[in-house]
Subunit: 232 residues, 4 copies
């Protein structure tokens, strides 16, 4: 097997030990990068922040290298560049490419990095179809819910924190706002004040509103059904 095909195989594979190691490492880095973003929204000592930013740049470098590697070993490069996951990969490393110009705005797109995880979940779902386990479906619903809330919270935090630092103080405030908005509760104690924040909120409502109750409803009905089956 030529080297190109070998790399392409291991970057997608989740069944051989080496494939598992590579893909779990990438998943771990995505999670680490997200955790760093969340921690950085809280007041922390300067030297910790410096260290976190260094780690974050290192992860960005690894993702940039991974993107170039995937591009290099793709059989059809144009098709690869235009594929859904490739565009997310590119957006995830954009802060690296444009870092010298204006980091504060483009960092918004780093949030999409977590969408990478969907690829591995889907791999597991295929596996789950064979073993026909119900828990895989529940895990997928939970992950979808978590991803939607996490990405939208990150976006609204990036847009509103600079202009509204008291209301959108920490990442938890943004999560609170996202959940309260997308479940249509809408308290109104945390609301966007800028025009950009309002536009982002409109986007959040129109794309997220049918997803959250739908996924939550599915999840709870499935859990109740399982609970009843266990009883009987």
């Amino acid at each position: 097997m030529p080297i190109k095909e070998k790399i392409a195989f291991y970057l997608e594979d989740i069944e051989t030990p080496l494939g598992k190691l590579i893909n779990l490492s990438i998943t771990g880095l995505v999670l680490l990068s997200s955790v760093i973003f969340v921690i950085e929204t809280y007041p922390i000592p300067d030297y910790v922040r410096l260290n976190l930013e260094t780690i974050d740049w290192a992860i960005l470098l690894i993702f940039a290298y991974e993107y170039l590697l995937r591009l290099w070993c793709a059989p059809k490069r144009i098709k690869y560049i235009l594929s859904f996951y490739s565009i997310i990969d590119l957006i995830a490393i954009l802060p690296f490419l444009t870092g010298v110009v204006d980091i504060s705005f483009v960092r918004i797109f780093r949030w999409f990095r977590i969408l990478k995880l969907i690829r591995y979940i889907e791999g597991k779902t295929l596996f789950g179809k064979i073993s026909s386990e119900d828990s895989v479906i529940v895990a997928r619903i939970l992950f979808t819910l978590f991803t939607i809330i996490f990405v939208y919270s990150g976006l609204i935090y990036q847009v509103e924190h600079p202009v509204n630092p008291n209301v959108f103080a920490t990442f938890l405030d943004a999560v609170y706002f996202s959940v309260v908005t997308m479940t249509t509760v809408g308290f109104g104690d945390v609301t966007p004040s800028s025009q950009a924040g309002r536009l982002m909120t409109l986007l959040m409502i129109l794309t997220g509103i049918a997803l959250i109750p739908w996924q939550l409803g599915d999840l709870i009905k499935r859990l109740v059904k399982n609970a009843n089956q266990v009883e009987n």
Copy 2:
């Protein structure tokens, strides 16, 4: 073919080149008129506003001429006047007819002008049934959503902007209010203060509340179904 029937044919036709040209022109004028309304809600220099108003009056004149033309060549005039689209056409040109008396109130009805677009969408849907394309249905849902939000935003802006200029400052604020209201999120940061505004909001809730989640749900389920079909 007598001249009356010829005009009647081309005003409805969307398949011959001339019919297409006429109907796309009218659609374009409806959109241009709506864009002018939105722009006029933002602070713009006086000479730009003057130009925009001149264009708007010209469009109104064309619509009035079009209405008279349709009326003239209709086989049964009484039936035509009482048809759904004819009433919308008449409402759309009302600011022209009553312009000398009190323009500020009647301008509200100009918003219904955009409903004209439904006629052409429906024409396209008939076409879509033949080609059985799914995208036409998605386009129709999107257009319905857009129309509902646009019309209600225009109405609430017209009612609330004069008495509540800080809260309903621009058209975006009205769109934000409409979406937040009709999806039942209801933050409460933008709310009507006048009695007329509250009546309009009641109307908006009672007529719009079942439409928005229903259309959004349809749209997202269809998109998810299509996405799954593409995967398999």
Copy 3:
């Protein structure tokens, strides 16, 4: 036919001219009494208010007489007293019976007087079943919606207006609050401040929340279905 049966017949009948006259008169008095209540929530000259209150007391007297008449000619009096409509009739005239003690609190129950209308609507629905008209069903849904909103608005107005006169100023404010609450929009610009008002709001939410979207959804789907049938 003895006089008792004759009176019992005409109080329920809606097909003979005399039955129609009697029942439409009662319906008219219910509506008039409700309109008087709404008008009295607005600032009006004292002499008008005095006249309205006189009319209202006269209506109350007629309803009390009607209740006694129904009771007198009922074949089984105990069963009649415990029937659903009889209890509503009794509640509707309670302000008359207890008027000398404390009118302000008991007036709350006058709102239930409008529920009487349901009886006549149901009579019409039976008639509608024979003619199988769809419009009767639409009328019934509309009336149910109107009654729910009207009764809850009246109740919350009676509870909150004395302690919160700026927020719950007029009947329209109460209607605005009821619709915004029961459709789960929940702006929060009009909210109860007393403990009694909060209890009433809990009752309103728990009993009304499934009714309003359900009825509205039925109504809009039926209207859309009819519109499609007309098109085809």
Copy 4:
């Protein structure tokens, strides 16, 4: 029958007179304990509060004794400890075990004591299946709704009352907040201000939001169905 099996039988039994007595007593104590908690949130004289706390500690002692008794006579102790109801029983007596350290925080979990009632409701449901009464199902839905609202109100009261005593003044305020939140009305007049309160609200929304409308919808549809059957 050995003593162990006898105790185990009567602790679960709800058909013999002794079994009924024991289980209704435990249910009564759960309700009494909950009522004491609610009363203690209102301003009451000190000597009343002292008496209530004494009663509460006595109930806690009985529950601790009951837990040990159930554990002692369970055929498989490890399995019993890990069962759903056993964990709730343990949580319910935790304030007793850890009372000397920090009562204020752990008291939160006393709220779960009310979940014990579900066991007896389920016993009744089995009974209801035999008699096929519809009212048992309605009772179960009502109880589920009441339990969800009561537990969440208690949790949010415990978290928010110390930091937000004006907004979350009494238990009614917490119930008002829970119902307004879980039905997605979301006025925003009562909202959490602490980070812990916001986390609790997120949990409340994500776990409760699909339950309340679902249960309420079931309840109302069943009631309407029954009402129609009675009419026909």
